[in-house]
C-alpha cells in the first residue's frame, strides 16, 4: 500500500557502542561468553569477537546495538581513534580484583573524552564482581569515582552473567533519552523520522 512512503526499517534507532579498559579486565568476556562446548568452538573463543549486533526493546522502541570489543588494541592508542568514530556510547571497564585497572580509569576517561564524539555517553563498569575473595576495589569506590566523573556506574560479572545485559540496556536507554531531549529542544518537530535516519547513526543532532 502507498500509505508507507518509504520502506520501513526494522529498527527505530541504531547505536554504536565501544568496550574500553585495561587488558585483562574482561572486555571480551562481556561480549563472548567463555563457555566451551561443541558449538562454542574453542577457535571462536581464541579468535574472539570483533563486534556484535544485538536488537533490544527500550521504551517501546526497537534499538539495534553494535557493540565493539577493543581488546588487543589497548597499546595502540592511535589505532583506537578509528574505533571511537561514530561511537555513541563507551563502556569503560575496570576489574574489581585489580586496583591498578581502577587507577587507570582516569587515564581511560581522558583518552575517551579526547577521541570520542563530544556527546558520547560514557558508562563505568567494575567487572568480575563475583570474585569477592580477591576484591581490591569496593563498590563504594566505584560509585564515588563515577559520580566524580559524572557518569553512570554498575558492577557486573561476565562469569555469573550478573548485570551484563543491564549495562547495555541502561546505556542504550540513556542515549535514547539524550537523543529525544535533543530532538525536542532543537525544536525540529516534524521532518525528522528516526526510523529512516542514515546508517551511520543518528545524524540530526544539530549541535
Amino acid at each position: 500500500m502507498s500509505t508507507r512512503a518509504a520502506p520501513s526499517r526494522s529498527y527505530d534507532m541504531i547505536m554504536k557502542l565501544l568496550l574500553v579498559g585495561d587488558s585483562g579486565v574482561g572486555k571480551s568476556c562481556l561480549l563472548l561468553r567463555f563457555v566451551e562446548d561443541k558449538f562454542n568452538p574453542s577457535f571462536i573463543t581464541t579468535i574472539g569477537i570483533d563486534f556484535k549486533i544485538r536488537t533490544i526493546e527500550s521504551k517501546g522502541k526497537k534499538i539495534k546495538l553494535q557493540v565493539w570489543d577493543t581488546a588487543g588494541q589497548e597499546r595502540f592508542r592511535t589505532i583506537t581513534t578509528a574505533y571511537y568514530r561514530g561511537a555513541m556510547g563507551i563502556v569503560l571497564i575496570y576489574d574489581v580484583t585489580d586496583s591498578r585497572s581502577f587507577e587507570n580509569v582516569d587515564n581511560w576517561f581522558q583518552t575517551v573524552t579526547q577521541h570520542a564524539n563530544e556527546d558520547a555517553q560514557i558508562f563505568l563498569v567494575g567487572n568480575k564482581c563475583d570474585d569477592e575473595s580477591n576484591r581490591q576495589v569496593s563498590k563504594e569506590q566505584g560509585q564515588e569515582l563515577a559520580s566524580k566523573l559524572n557518569i553512570p556506574f554498575l558492577e557486573a560479572s561476565a562469569k555469573s552473567n550478573e548485570n551484563v545485559d543491564s549495562i547495555f540496556y541502561e546505556l542504550a536507554g540513556i542515549i535514547q533519552d539524550k537523543h529525544v531531549d535533543e530532538q525536542t529542544t532543537s525544536g525540529s518537530a516534524g521532518g525528522i523520522d528516526v526510523s529512516s535516519s542514515s546508517k551511520s547513526g543518528i545524524k540530526n543532532n544539530c549541535c
Partner: protein
Amino acid sequence: MSSYKAFDLDQISLEKRVVLRCPFKQCNARIIPLSKALVSSKISIDKAPEMVAVGQIPSVDEPRTESTSDFYKVDDVWDFDNIGVSRAVENLSSPIELASDPGEPVTLNIERLLICSECDKGPLGFAGISEKDAADVKNLKYFLSCNSVVYDV
C-alpha cells in the same frame, strides 16, 4: 519452526513474516527477517567453511557441523537483528568468486565466522571482503547458511 529442507522458499509472500532464528533450542534468538530480497540473494558457494546443520528436526538439540553450499548474501550488517562477527583470521577457507553486475567477478577473502549473538554458538555463516576494500570493515559481505537457522513462519 521448520528446517530449511522442510521449508519452501516459494511460499514466501510479503504478507507472511518469516523470521530466521538461531537453531539452538534454548536460544532461538531472531537472526534476521526473511525478506524477498534475502530470498533472492541465495547463492551457492562451494568449499565454504563448515556450518551448524539443522537436521530434519526443526530445532537443533543434537547438532553437528557439516559442509553446505546454500547461503543468503547479506551486504549490510545492520540487516541482522542479532549476529556476532569474529575477528579476522587468514585462510579460513579458499577465496570465493562472486559474479558482479557489471564487470569482473569479485574475489572475496573469507576471514570471519558468524555466531548467534545471544548464545554465542555457531558458526551460522561467514563473512568475506575483497582485497581492495579490506581497509574498511564496512565493506564486509556476510553469508548466512540457509541450513543453519530455523524458519519461524
